[in-house]
């Protein structure tokens, strides 16, 4: 068991002084750190691509050895688990790692009978809701960051902190810990932290007369770039999405809204209270106006944005029909896969796209640079709601194994960052930094991450009210101001306990 070796407190004070100069990042970090200012194995105040490179591979971890101290390896039991794993659209390597994980798990705890269900992203929330109402839930579930609080507030989840599975809370991003805290109680462990970034096709930029190597610096630039691309080449500039679904729309629109200084509530503020509605604020209206300009005025984004979710943007991007979108670094791995499979003329198109794919920071707005602090958390379901009863030891063993520095890193291989920050020190992180392109960008977006409001109503606000607001404005059913006011009123009445 070597896991606690690196836990020696770092000289936090001096580094913090150094960091004072790093304007944006430090500010946000300070806010993230505000509640939990104690020692960490990874020093968040130094967060930068260089720092990450410098710590990668500095420590070794023995996953089985550590978990044995939490639950003996010969424990006999039963586990049911739901999560959203690799799908048909995931890069091959994700599938491979997934298989390796289950093999390693079976080897480490051979006597825990495991029933794991990989459930589609768009179906997981609906399905969990239904099964919990029918007391037929799984023991352990991994949910996207937006989903957990709704269930926790209804009393579906057990109290669960990293300490319960042998890890210090300090090893997790404070912002991520906040997302698993409801009314002062921790009910989950962050499995991975993800921040997206802007992906663009340099070849299209060049042909449209833009600098191929630099992304739009501000959201206003993005609107202008999108128009120029559409005017010059007749293809879509920016991959806007505006349909209600399980989270793709807010993940792409909220960064813009926050950048202009808006918010759903005050989640972008330093110490959010989640009490004031800001969807009708000036910033929110400006962001909505920008979306309106792209969709209605310039027609520079896919017309299908209103019926499509993000999933429909990847294909046009690969085919060179879309210039920019907000996406994961895993898109790169996926595109390399696809290019490998393509033949003939397709091969040429695919290779060009892969070669010209660039990844950069999400544009800034007048107020800030922002990105959704995303990711997933692992939760234990209350025994009453579990089909066949809850096996605490099995659940703990599993959570320990999954969230170990090793697997936390590997399971986030192409798409995001390990929830367990100790993962950044592993040799696997080093390997990952060496093989996955663009990882730097997402890691450097992390400090700009803003978590969705941690209130039970968050899913409805983000997945229904915000997309509705976009749709109302983009279809010109309402004016931009009316749409914003309408959405704000809906949030207001929702928070008031009304309908």
């Amino acid at each position: 068991m070597t896991n606690s070796q690196g836990r020696a407190p770092r000289p936090a004070r001096s580094t913090r002084r150094q960091a004072a100069g790093r304007a944006v990042a430090a500010l946000v970090i300070a806010s993230l750190l505000s509640s939990t200012a104690y020692a960490q194995s990874v020093d968040l105040s130094q967060w930068s691509p260089e720092y990450i490179r410098s710590i990668a591979g500095t420590e070794e971890f023995d996953t089985a050895g550590h978990c044995a101290s939490v639950v003996p390896l010969d424990y006999e039991g039963r586990l049911t688990y739901w999560w959203t794993g690799p799908t048909e659209a995931s890069p091959q390597i994700e599938h491979q790692i997934n298989e390796e994980f289950w093999a390693a798990w079976a080897e480490t705890y051979p006597n825990i009978e495991t029933d794991a269900q990989n459930i589609d992203y768009n179906q997981l929330l609906d399905r969990l809701r239904t099964t919990l109402l029918g007391n037929a839930g799984p023991m352990v579930v991994r949910l996207q960051i937006l989903g957990g609080v709704e269930f926790a507030s209804k009393g579906y989840f057990q109290e669960l902190a990293p300490e319960d599975i042998g890890y210090p809370t300090a090893d997790f991003w404070p912002g991520a810990m906040k997302s698993v805290t409801w009314q002062g109680t921790t009910y989950g462990v962050p499995t991975n932290n993800e921040t997206m970034a802007l992906i663009w096709n340099a070849d299209i930029f060049e042909r449209a007369g833009l600098d191929p190597e630099s992304p739009p610096a501000t959201w206003d630039d993005l609107v202008a770039y999108s128009k120029q691309i559409h005017d010059e080449l007749g293809i879509s500039g920016y991959g806007l999405v505006a349909r209600q679904n399980a989270g793709n729309t807010p993940f792409r629109f909220m960064p813009q809204l926050w950048a202009y200084g808006g918010g759903a509530l005050d989640e972008a503020e330093e110490n959010p209270t989640y009490e004031t509605v800001q969807l009708n604020s000036e910033g929110a209206v400006a962001a909505l106006q920008a979306a309106y300009d792209m969709y209605v005025r310039d027609k520079s984004v896919p017309t299908s944005a209103l019926t499509n979710t993000q999933n429909e943007n990847q294909a046009p991007f690969i085919a060179g029909q879309l210039a920019m979108m907000i996406a994961h670094p895993s898109e790169y791995a996926k595109m390399v896969d696809l290019a490998g499979l393509a033949t003939g003329a397709d091969k040429e198109i695919a290779d060009t796209v892969v070669e010209n794919m660039r990844y950069g920071l999400i544009p800034e707005g007048p107020e800030r640079r922002a990105v959704v602090f995303g990711g997933s958390n692992m939760h234990f379901v209350q025994p009453d709601y579990v089909e066949g009863g809850f096996d605490e030891q099995a659940a703990k063993a599993f959570a320990c194994f999954w969230n170990s520095p090793e697997w936390s890193t590997k399971l986030a291989w192409t798409g995001s960052n390990p929830g367990n920050l100790a993962g950044f020190k592993t040799q696997w992180m080093k390997e990952r930094l060496d093989t996955i392109k663009f990882l730097d960008v997402t890691t450097s977006m992390l400090p700009s991450g803003i978590p969705f409001p941690v209130i039970p109503e968050a899913t409805e606000i983000m997945n229904i009210i915000v997309p509705d607001m976009l749709q109302n404005a983009l279809t010109e059913r309402m004016s931009v101001e009316e749409a914003a006011a309408d959405a704000a009123a809906k949030v207001e009445s929702l928070l008031g306990g009304g309908l």
Binding site: K154, R243, Q244, T303, S304, A305, E460, Q471, L499
Partner: protein, 321 residues
């Protein structure tokens, strides 16, 4: 005369019993009859009775987001008021009516036309009928995906054809447009079900007596008059049934709008069913969704009264044997 009179008990005993103790006696006398329908009834009862009870019960309670179903709060008729007063209810109701009536009407007319055109023997008639019937058996999910792809605002083939033919300068925006989305979905629905009307009416056409048509022909009646005065009256019964079956199916159809647009953009393709689903599963407002469902039941029961009347029509005169 029913076969029941020929049962082991004998007609006289059974009639005597029914006279003696009224309904109960008749029930007892016919007790073995019930065995035949029992399995069907049990299945139906289980799958209908509880859900109806549960839906009605829930419609009087409220379940805010942070409450579990078991902590529901009694609110009387509040949920009904909420539904009826909700700003989108009006629009969604109009959508529902347009969706149901337009789908039914057009599907019926296309089916009628197809049935009349196919009634006559010609080479390839069987193949033709089979081809026209395929959409009816293809799943709604499959149909929705196929049409979503056909309509696709950026890569859709229909839009592209229109541009190629010079009909429009830009691809037509079918689904991402509040004005056209409902009509576009109705087309898909019609595509899927017009052939049901076609088969029903083809069956109906076989009941039209040939001699009558010939007689009308000899009397010099025009084609239209022959259709209107001879053929159509014979189709009236089957038309009623067809229209009602289509109407019920359309009123209840969920998959096409759900898969293709999810009720969007901006509620323009929401119909009652998709709206109920969104309230219940998207927004966790089980109470309001249940009240909505109860309102829908009431409408359906009214429609159902006519439906069953049409289905059992002629049953009584036929029943005598």
């Amino acid at each position: 005369m029913s076969i029941a009179t020929g049962r082991a008990a004998g007609p006289s005993t059974s009639q005597a019993a029914s006279r003696a103790s009224g309904i109960l006696g008749r029930v007892i006398a016919h007790r073995t009859d019930y065995l035949y329908v029992l399995p069907a009834l049990i299945v139906m009862l289980v799958v209908i009775a509880f859900p109806i009870y549960y839906t009605i019960e829930l419609s009087f309670f409220r379940t805010p987001p942070n409450l579990q179903m078991r902590d529901k709060i009694w609110t009387g008729l509040d949920n009904y008021v909420t539904v009826l007063r909700s700003p989108v209810f009006h629009e969604v109701t109009i959508n529902t009516i347009i969706w149901t009536v337009a789908s039914t009407l057009v599907a019926f007319l296309l089916g009628l036309g197809a049935a009349l055109s196919l009634h006559r023997e010609f080479v390839g008639r069987g193949v033709m009928r089979a081809l026209l019937l395929i959409p009816y058996v293809v799943s709604a999910v499959a149909a929705s995906y196929v049409w979503k792809w056909l309509y696709h605002s950026d890569f859709g083939v229909i839009g592209a054809i229109a541009v190629q033919l010079g009909l429009t300068s830009e691809p037509i925006n079918f689904l991402d447009n509040r004005q056209t989305v409902l009509a576009s979905l109705i087309v898909v629905n019609i595509w899927k079900e017009f052939s049901f009307a076609m088969v029903m009416l083809m069956a109906g056409l076989q009941t039209v007596p040939e001699q009558l048509l010939r007689a009308a022909q000899v009397d010099g009646a025009s084609a239209w008059n022959r259709f209107w005065h001879v053929t159509f009256p014979h189709l009236r019964g089957v038309s009623m049934v067809t229209v009602l079956l289509l109407m019920v199916a359309n009123f209840n159809s969920f998959i096409i709008p759900f898969v293709m647009t999810g009720g969007g953009p901006a509620d323009a393709s929401h119909i009652w069913i998709t709206h109920i689903y969104q309230l219940a599963f998207g927004r966790q407002q089980w109470g309001v969704a249940s009240a909505y469902a109860v309102i829908l039941f009431i409408v359906m029961m009214t429609l159902g009264y006519f439906y069953v009347k049409a289905l059992t029509r002629g049953d009584e005169n036929r029943a005598g044997g």
